[in-house]
């Protein structure tokens, strides 16, 4: 009897330890029963949150978005779920695997070269056309 209780205690202890030190990079989970020494490394403080489920805004992680949902229980972060992740899109999967190359930059300067023709965006102005049409309509 004693042995069973002892091993049971060890298992519970280990479980609490495992949860407490679970590595999810920035958030440390707090065990439900352990309210006194949980840490909140995300904000670096022990200030209490209101219980509930909160979804963060989608943040641009360059090649995808990241959105997290935080579950607060007993005033502390109890769970964090990733709702979107850069690896959702195949394009971003490629990027996660390799560092972004550094591309050459320069301040633009006017060139004197004589060219055959020029590439540039067409600047059609629909507003101008509409305004002109309205003005002409009044002129009739």
């Amino acid at each position: 009897m004693k042995k069973v209780i002892l091993s049971g205690l060890v298992i519970i202890g280990f479980g609490a330890y495992a949860i407490f030190h679970h590595n999810s990079e920035t958030i440390v989970f707090s065990s439900k029963n352990n309210t006194s020494s949980s840490q909140n490394s995300a904000t670096g403080s022990n200030s209490a949150y209101k219980d509930g489920t909160y979804t963060g805004s989608a943040a641009d992680a360059f090649y995808g978005t990241i959105q997290v949902k935080a579950v607060i229980q007993n005033g502390k972060i109890a769970d964090v779920q990733f709702l979107q992740y850069p690896n959702d899109q195949p394009e971003s999967q490629q990027v996660s695997q390799q560092a972004m190359p550094i591309l050459k930059q320069e301040a633009i300067t006017a060139q004197k070269a004589q060219v055959d023709t020029v590439s540039g965006a067409t600047q059609t102005s629909q507003a101008f056309k509409e305004s002109l049409a309205a003005a002409l309509a009044q002129a009739r």
Binding site: L103, K104, E106, I108, Q111, Q114, V118, S119, G120, A121
Partner: protein, 241 residues
């Protein structure tokens, strides 16, 4: 399409009637696609007067090509906006490319066709040189900020339109594109350069990295502060001053 078209043919045997047929082709494209013409197929499609099945083969082809480009650009190339279709970002390059094919069928191999700043070059100029193409300063239409030498390539520039943002980020359709003033892409054909310049512009500052990773394409992106970022092999085209 309401844009200036310039065709220069260096082949000595060219006659004005040859060029006239190319302009006729552009006029027919305008009749099919112009959103400013109520009778165009696109306007009628947008007004609900035509179903997709009733469209001509060319218009249906454009819709298919636009769909392919959307997939290739992770959705950043999108001709649908607020329920209307505006295929300008792909029709221009496609039409110029078709016009270039027509010219070649007429026996001409040394020319450039420039429609609204998107250009297809073929062969050499009269002096036997590669065609010299300038990249316009997005902040001053009278200036060029780069000059490139191109042979059998297409070049297209996407930028902000005065009437409001013509190009949109489909992931954030209500946000205006901020951060970059123009995106110039050099590709194997003007059709490809046009659609990828359109897509890359919609990506904002990330666009140049999209072009960098596309084999066979080069790009020159100018941000709102006048700082340009170029792909790693872009400088092989540049005329040094």
């Amino acid at each position: 399409m309401g844009m200036p078209i310039t065709i220069e043919v260096a082949d000595p045997q060219v006659a004005e009637s040859d060029i006239a047929s190319i302009f006729d082709y552009f006029a027919s494209v305008d009749r099919m696609f112009s959103p400013y013409k109520k009778e165009s197929e696109i306007s009628r499609l947008n007004a609900g007067e035509l179903t997709k099945k009733q469209l001509s083969a060319d218009v249906r082809q454009i819709l298919q090509l636009a769909d392919d480009t959307k997939k290739e650009s992770n959705g950043y190339f999108n001709i649908a906006h607020k329920g209307k279709i505006d295929p300008l970002g792909i029709v221009k390059g496609w039409a110029i490319y078709n016009a270039a094919t027509l010219l070649k069928e007429h026996g001409f191999h040394n020319f450039f066709i420039d429609a609204g700043g998107d250009i297809q070059v073929s062969g050499k100029s009269e002096k036997g040189d590669r065609w010299k193409i300038g990249i316009r300063n997005p902040f001053n239409r009278e200036e060029i900020v780069k000059a490139v030498l191109l042979e059998n390539k297409g070049i297209a520039t996407s930028g902000l339109y005065i009437r409001g943002n013509h190009i949109y980020n489909p992931h954030k359709p209500d946000e205006s594109i901020t951060g970059i003033a123009s995106m110039t892409v050099i590709g194997p054909t003007v059709y490809d350069a046009d659609r990828f310049a359109t897509a890359a512009f919609a990506m904002g500052e990330r666009g140049i990295h999209f072009i960098e990773k596309l084999p066979g394409y080069d790009g020159y992106m100018i941000d709102e502060k006048g700082i340009a970022t170029m792909t790693s092999k872009f400088e092989r085209f540049v005329i040094k001053e």
